[in-house]
């Protein structure tokens, strides 16, 4: 814990705050996207915004696995639980996300579907072992950090011959999503935010390494700093990004070198590669269809693939009307721009995924900055 406290020291933070203020050029703005919801959460939980000048802005990215799961995939999961008689195991974060018609897994559960909240995939495997006569499906979501545990569970199921276990795979990849944001043909250029650099993911990078971000510097001329999740990590990384911008340098730098290497965790990468392959395309809430941005099981593991095991019906899935989650996930709008924020949409009664997930941008504004966000919305109403 001593180790963590050093990354939350008020004295060190004050020093970094001064250094950032000195380095930042008051004549310009700096827009940095923190890709990960984990970073958004750290920024808000510690009030990092209060320690950087107003012209240094955080643009919240789509790195929240709960938030970017499109409504149709969630509707599919609800169908698995309701119509195929399976035991559907899910992490708790997914339970309250509204699907079409504001249905959710927690409502399906209340109506009698067998939906179980699990803390780990091992719990889902244990449920499968204990219920050999039932089909058990794990709803797998997440970026590169959560994929290796899913791979491990599938290997375990195969080794032990657990025939009633399968996975509804929604694992997605970080670098293609960042590339998509930078190319984003469908984003209205008038709305587009000029991004001056990226705070790179912490945990994801511990698996994939820093190398997969090098194209951002080489091809798109955007600085990247891989940042740890502690507030001082974020501040140090912001300082490093401002220095790159001011010096006209474009590089992938690694602030989180106590964990992340250039090559990443090769064993985890091998494991994932053995079991998963690229999907040609995958739909992200907010980003739309993104090529090569998600994984599915290799044909050799088809028996564990819930999508092949159960015939899911095609459906017309719909986002909640007026919900700005899609634009917020692209970084072109903020929660304060959404008509529903605090006006029917709260963490208790979420209308969009960004308000449900503890890593969602709306949840962060609501939980940590509600007073000033609601005041700003009221001011705009008066002005209009």
């Amino acid at each position: 814990m001593k180790y963590i406290e050093e990354f939350r020291s008020r004295e060190l933070a004050a020093g970094l705050s001064r250094a950032i203020a000195q380095e930042a050029d008051p004549a310009r703005t700096y827009n940095f996207m923190e890709f990960c919801g984990g970073h958004t959460h750290a920024i808000f939980r510690y009030g990092v915004q209060d320690l950087v000048p107003a012209n240094v802005r955080f643009v919240h990215g789509p790195g929240c696995p709960v938030c970017i799961l499109p409504v149709r995939r969630l509707d599919d999961a609800i169908e698995l639980a309701e119509r195929h008689g399976v035991i559907l195991c899910s992490y708790a974060d997914m339970m309250r996300v509204p699907g079409s018609g504001r249905r959710s897994l927690i409502k399906a559960k209340a109506d009698g579907a067998d939906v179980r909240m699990v803390y780990s995939l091992l719990d889902a495997l244990a449920i499968a072992r204990a219920n050999p006569a039932r089909e058990v499906v794990f709803l797998a979501i997440g970026f590169e950090t959560t994929t290796p545990p899913t791979a491990l569970a599938i290997e375990t199921a195969r080794r032990e011959g657990i025939g009633n276990f399968s996975v509804f795979v929604n694992h997605v990849l970080t670098p293609p999503a960042i590339r998509h944001i930078l190319e984003a043909p469908e984003i209205d250029p008038a709305q587009a935010v000029r991004l001056d650099g990226f705070l790179g993911p912490s945990h994801v990078s511990s698996v994939i390494g820093s190398r997969p971000y090098e194209f951002l510097a080489e091809r798109y001329g955007k600085p990247v700093v891989i940042a740890g999740f502690e507030p001082l990590d974020v501040m140090q990384s912001v300082l490093m990004l401002i220095r790159q911008v001011n010096q006209g340098r474009v590089a992938v730098e690694n602030e989180y070198s106590r964990v992340v290497t250039r090559e990443g965790n090769l064993r985890a990468q091998d494991l994932v590669d053995r079991i998963f392959e690229l999907r040609p395309t995958f739909e992200w809430r907010g980003l739309g269809s993104v090529p090569d941005s998600a994984l599915r099981l290799r044909p050799a593991y088809a028996a564990f693939d819930a999508e092949r095991r159960f015939a899911l019906t095609p459906k017309q899935s719909r986002e909640t009307k007026s919900c700005e989650c899609p634009s917020i996930l692209r970084g072109v709008k903020k929660p304060v721009d959404c008509k529903l924020f605090g006006n029917g949409c709260t963490p208790e009664t979420p209308m969009g995924s960004c308000m449900v997930s503890s890593e969602g941008a709306c949840a962060a504004y609501w939980t940590y900055r509600r007073a000033e966000t609601l005041a700003e919305i009221a001011r705009r109403k008066v002005a209009a």
């Binding site: 814990m1 209060d50 959560t146 940590y368």
Partner: protein, 340 residues
């Protein structure tokens, strides 16, 4: 365990009102709880009318697991209700205990729970004056549920409640937060840490007695149980229609609890306590109150953690560890582990 074999279990006859019920009550509960009020042996215990205002509170206890590091459901059922009495500034005088037992529950475990309750009540100096036992069929309970009611007397001149909270008053906390909730969660999840985290389950009425003696104008007391410190402060801020500002650095958290919360993705501000209290008093009295708290073992780690502000009403704000600002919100839904 002279009266029962270890293999004995609760069956439906223990709740049937016949001989088995009487044997259970006499042989187990009365043996452990023995005191003059209970010895009256009536349906209701008769006690002299006390001077002063009476407080009354009740609490149902359904904790799982029943036995956990630092306590068990029995001690918790005594401490929880004593503390609710104490939060009115009152001196507790008597407790009642109602047991809902599930068919098949081991008598040895019930004996252990009753012994723990008796020890907690004796240590607190408060008799369990009356009780009741019911048995439900297997599958209709979770081993044992215990509901306790407490009564007590508020000394003259003491007036504690949200109506007395004013801007500028100081907010004090009696010790480290999160110990109970993390002890239970870690036990449930089979997590092991270098130091074993134990529940803080303890009676606070003696601490409160010293506090009201030191600062009779004490405005507010509450124990931050379910929902943690954040829920308690939000409740008070909302009821008083005032704001609060805390300093995160001043809030004591044991290092092992902080580590466990990091691992489980929890905020210690949201985690339950069973032996801590929040106090609010005029700023000028805060040093004297802090001294009185620190003089007792239950308040040894007490700290001034913030102040009441004029508003925004119902908002608890905090200066974070690094010096930024944030709101301290109610917990939405259930505390969830992080997923990535």
């Amino acid at each position: 365990m002279s009266h029962h074999r270890h293999t004995d279990r609760i069956d439906l006859s223990h709740g049937g009102g016949g001989r088995a019920t009487t044997e259970l009550v006499r042989g187990l509960f009365q043996r452990h709880f023995d005191n003059p009020l209970l010895a009256q042996g009536h349906d209701a215990s008769v006690m002299p009318r006390p001077a002063g205002r009476i407080v009354m509170t009740t609490d149902a206890h359904v904790v799982a697991p029943l036995f956990f590091p630092g306590g068990d459901i029995g001690a918790l059922a005594v401490h929880g209700t004593l503390n609710d009495v104490a939060m009115a500034g009152a001196v507790p005088t008597a407790l009642s205990a109602a047991f809902i037992l599930e068919e098949g529950f081991p008598l040895a475990d019930l004996d252990r729970i009753a012994a723990s309750m008796a020890a907690a009540a004796r240590e607190a100096g408060v008799p369990i004056a009356t009780g009741d036992t019911k048995v439900v069929e297997k599958g209709k309970g979770d081993g044992v549920f215990i509901a306790t009611t407490g009564i007590g007397i508020v000394p003259d001149g003491i007036d504690i409640g949200t109506h007395r909270v004013r801007p500028g008053q100081a907010i004090l906390l009696s010790g480290t937060i999160g110990d109970h909730g993390v002890a239970i969660l870690a036990h449930r999840q089979n997590l092991s840490f270098e130091t074993r985290i134990a529940s803080d389950s303890q009676a606070l009425h003696r601490l409160v007695a010293d506090m009201v003696a030191a600062v009779p104008t004490l405005a507010m007391l509450r124990d931050p149980t379910r929902g943690g410190l954040s829920a308690t402060l939000n409740e008070i801020a909302e009821a008083a229609a005032l704001g609060m500002t805390l300093d995160e650095r001043a809030i004591p958290v044991l290092p092992e609890v902080a580590s466990a919360c990091e691992l489980l993705g929890l905020d210690p501000l949201h985690v339950a306590n069973e032996g801590k209290l929040v106090a609010i008093c005029d700023a000028a009295d805060a040093p004297a109150l802090l001294r009185a708290m620190r003089a007792r073992p239950e308040g040894a780690a007490a700290a001034i953690i913030g102040e009441v502000t004029a508003g925004p009403a119902g908002m608890v704000e905090m200066t974070t560890m690094i010096g930024g600002r944030r709101i301290v919100d109610w917990l939405a839904g259930e505390q969830l582990p992080r997923i990535c």
